[in-house]
């Protein structure tokens, strides 16, 4: 009985022709190799970008409450930065509210300086800034601006979250705000 079964299996054994399947597999492989493009190592800076708010109150408010204390700016919720351009589209100057804090290109030293200045402002617990509004001269290149945005998004809002609310306005050359 056992011998019969073995004989039947030997006679009916099927050998698949793998050459055709291999051809197809090689074609698929060629397709994937030719269309293979490794994804770039990219990251994102997630921001909430609401439309800008008018800036007319910025200069007035600290003067009205001029008591000489750190609490002068209480009631403001938008911190204003201005980014001025040099001839090459780099950063010439960064002005925080009304005072220049960075002079020259955004190199490591200036990035640290801007970070320190912003940390000092955001560190005052009584000031509830929940948004940064950046007025940027139109010639400033995106790559340079991103360095400023990066520093801004490192700051913490009063509820301990990272600063994500940023607005942009355009400064025409010379510093006047575009209409």
């Amino acid at each position: 009985m056992r011998r019969n079964r073995r004989r039947r299996r030997d006679q009916g054994s099927v050998e698949m022709n793998l050459a055709a399947m291999l051809d197809m597999a090689f074609q698929l492989l060629s397709f994937f190799i030719l269309t293979f493009r490794p994804a770039p190592v990219e990251g994102q800076l997630s921001l909430n970008l609401p439309p800008p708010v008018p800036v007319t109150k910025v200069d007035q408010q600290p003067k009205e409450n001029n008591s000489g204390e750190a609490g002068d700016l209480v009631g403001l919720d938008t911190l204003h930065l201005q980014v001025m351009a040099n001839d090459r589209g780099g950063v010439r100057q960064v002005i925080l509210e009304a005072s220049p804090v960075v002079q020259g290109e955004m190199n490591e030293a200036n990035i640290r300086r801007l970070d320190r200045e912003l940390q000092a402002i955001f560190g005052r617990k009584m000031i509830a800034f929940d948004r940064i509004q950046i007025a940027v001269e139109r010639r400033v290149r995106y790559g340079e601006l991103m360095k400023v945005i990066d520093v801004c998004t490192r700051q913490k809002t009063p509820d301990g979250q990272q600063m994500r609310k940023v607005s942009f306005t355009e400064l025409s050359t010379g510093g006047a705000e575009a209409p």
Binding site: L18, A19, M21, L22, A25, F26, L28, L29, F32, I33, T35, F36, R37, P38, A39, P40, V41, E42, G43, Q44, L45, S46, L47, N48, L49, P50, P51, G89, V136, E137, R138, R139, V140, R141, Y142, G143, L145, M146, K147, I149, D150, T153, R154, F168, E170
Partner: protein, 150 residues
């Protein structure tokens, strides 16, 4: 001659096929379908703090590539920004109303901006303003996490 025919050598193709299938599996797993929507010729700014986007199950964001001259490319096509965003916002509103999202609410979907590092601010700002006008508030600005060595 007849002896040669009777002893025809047939290579065992099974291991080769296994190998090829494994290679195909590898390439299928690493294939980048999003690559078509990205303009890989752009020189993105470099920011070490940039992190991969976590969509948390939200709808797919709209990806805009802005070249150094300020041209907006979407899926490889140079587009006019105003009609493009108008169309996308209209489609999104329809989709959101089907999903039962209240009208007038902030779009839960964002815009991913992949802009060349040399693009002047006013051109980038124009794109952002158009998107804001149509209700977009969530933006992701793409950057390389490290300098390309090429």
């Amino acid at each position: 001659m007849s002896e040669m025919n009777s002893e025809r050598a047939e290579p065992n193709l099974t291991p080769l096929l296994d190998l090829v299938f494994q290679l195909i599996t590898f390439f299928m797993l690493v294939i980048n379908f999003k690559g078509a929507s990205m303009d890989l010729s752009l020189k993105l700014p470099v920011l070490g703090s940039a992190r991969p986007l976590d969509r948390q199950g939200k709808l797919e964001p709209l990806l805009l590539n802005i070249d150094a001259e300020g041209g907006v490319h979407c899926f490889g096509k140079l587009e006019e920004i105003e009609p493009l965003i108008t169309k996308e916002a209209r489609l999104l509103k329809q989709q959101l109303s089907v999903m039962g999202t209240p009208e007038g609410a902030e779009f839960p979907v964002g815009i991913v901006i992949r802009a060349d590092r040399a693009v002047p601010f006013h051109q980038l700002n124009h794109v952002i303003e158009v998107c804001q006008k149509h209700g977009y508030r969530q933006f992701s600005l793409s950057a390389m996490t490290r300098q390309e060595t090429r």
